[in-house]
């Protein structure tokens, strides 16, 4: 092996060694921290979804509106992952004649779960509970927790009647 060949070998190995790097990007479609899914039902017929006219949702203490006003029978809302409760204001018929604000607080215990090196952790919520603050004129008539642990968004976790 002459000197040139030796150096050629060296260069080749350096190239191979440096070439082995993989991008670490969190792929779309990875399971993520789930949103809380709430469905609205008719109190007289609890099997029938009932849309809320011009519903507007925002978190207490935040100016920015999360969604609405829009007429929907299902909402998906994020919960704070760094606290064990989140308080939301649900406004019925926002901007209309029958405008009515209800304050709803969700309590839970957030549980970080490791995903992978690119995405980091997600949070699952355990021991979910919900309470509507009574103001004498609540438009939300009843609230029921369907699933105490929130790990995905495939089915509703809570239902309200109005």
């Amino acid at each position: 092996m002459n000197r040139f060949q030796k150096w050629l070998f060296l260069a080749g190995f350096i190239f191979v060694a440096l070439g082995c790097q993989k991008d670490d990007i969190c792929p779309e479609g990875t399971e993520t921290t789930p949103l809380l899914v709430i469905e609205f039902y008719d109190p007289l017929d609890p099997t029938r979804l009932k849309a809320v006219p011009n519903l507007m949702v925002r978190a207490s203490g935040k100016e920015e509106v999360l969604l609405g006003p829009s007429t929907v029978n299902t909402v998906s809302i994020p919960l704070r992952t760094d606290e064990n409760f989140t308080e939301y204001v649900f406004t019925y018929d926002s901007g209309g004649d029958e405008e009515n604000e209800d304050v709803v607080s969700f309590t839970y215990s957030p549980d970080p779960q490791y995903l992978n090196r690119a995405c980091g952790f997600k949070v699952n919520y355990n021991s979910l509970d919900v309470a509507v603050t009574g103001d004498g004129d609540n438009w939300i008539l009843s609230e029921t927790v369907l699933q105490e642990s929130v790990e995905n968004e495939t089915t509703a976790h809570i239902y309200f009647t109005h």
Partner: protein
């Protein structure tokens, strides 16, 4: 005239005898075609270099091989490493020691008198280490609330890992008994203790891990010295 002839004769004799001696000396040299057998010890140059260049890395590796047969060497490495792994959503720190044992097969046909290697090697590697989760963020596609980035010091200790490793490399004798070498490594994890609700992002000796794969890669540059024990 007579004096001149005697002088030339003497010079001729002088040349002649020196030629005879030189031939004798050469003859002794070329007869010995035995190769050196012994213990070669060295260090990996890349690890001290990385220690110097990279702020978060520290490492040292000693290497050794012992020539058993014409082309077969017993070989091993022992080392210690610590490294910080910074990913966009996770920062972790890993430190520990490792040992690799196995053999090398030299498939290079040397010219007479040269003892270079182009080898393929196999190793079993074993590491004991600890892993520390330092910072992570909660992956959340909904940007309504502020990102949740948490600084923690969660340490998982007494972790172990074992792997099989293939090496391909070369060692070249640059000075008498002094070798420079380079090799690449391909590894496959065999057993690994994983921390609960976390993962080993870096394992000393194995290097970084890949999600959903038990394969690892590595390289090394070595400088080593052959302690000749006998010739054969």
């Amino acid at each position: 005239m007579k004096q001149q002839l005697i002088f030339i004769l003497l010079i001729n004799l002088g040349f002649h005898s020196s030629a005879i001696f030189a031939q004798q000396a050469q003859a002794v040299d070329t007869v010995d075609v035995r190769e050196k057998y012994g213990l070669r010890v060295g260090i990996d140059l890349s690890k001290p270099a990385r220690t110097f260049i990279e702020k978060d890395y520290q490492g040292l590796e000693l290497t050794a091989d012992y020539r058993l047969y014409e082309d077969i060497y017993l070989a091993g490495e022992i080392g210690n490493e610590q490294n910080v792994i910074s990913e966009p959503n996770v920062t972790a720190f890993s430190k520990g020691s490792y040992i690799k044992l196995g053999g090398n097969y030299n498939f290079y046909e040397n010219w007479t008198g040269m003892q270079n290697l182009i080898f393929i090697g196999a190793r079993y590697g074993f590491a004991t280490f600890s892993n520390e989760l330092r910072e992570f963020s909660i992956y959340d596609r909904d940007p309504y609330f502020e990102p949740d980035v948490r600084t923690e010091d969660r340490e998982y200790s007494n972790l172990t890992a074992g792997w099989l490793e293939l090496q391909l490399g070369t060692k070249v004798e640059v000075l008498n008994n002094l070798y420079l070498g380079v090799h690449v490594q391909l590894k496959r994890m065999v057993n690994e203790t994983e921390p609960t609700n976390f993962d080993n992002l870096y394992i000393p000796g194995f290097n970084r891990t890949y999600d959903g794969s038990s394969v690892g890669v590595g390289y090394g540059y070595s400088i080593s010295y052959l302690i000749p024990l006998y010739k054969k």
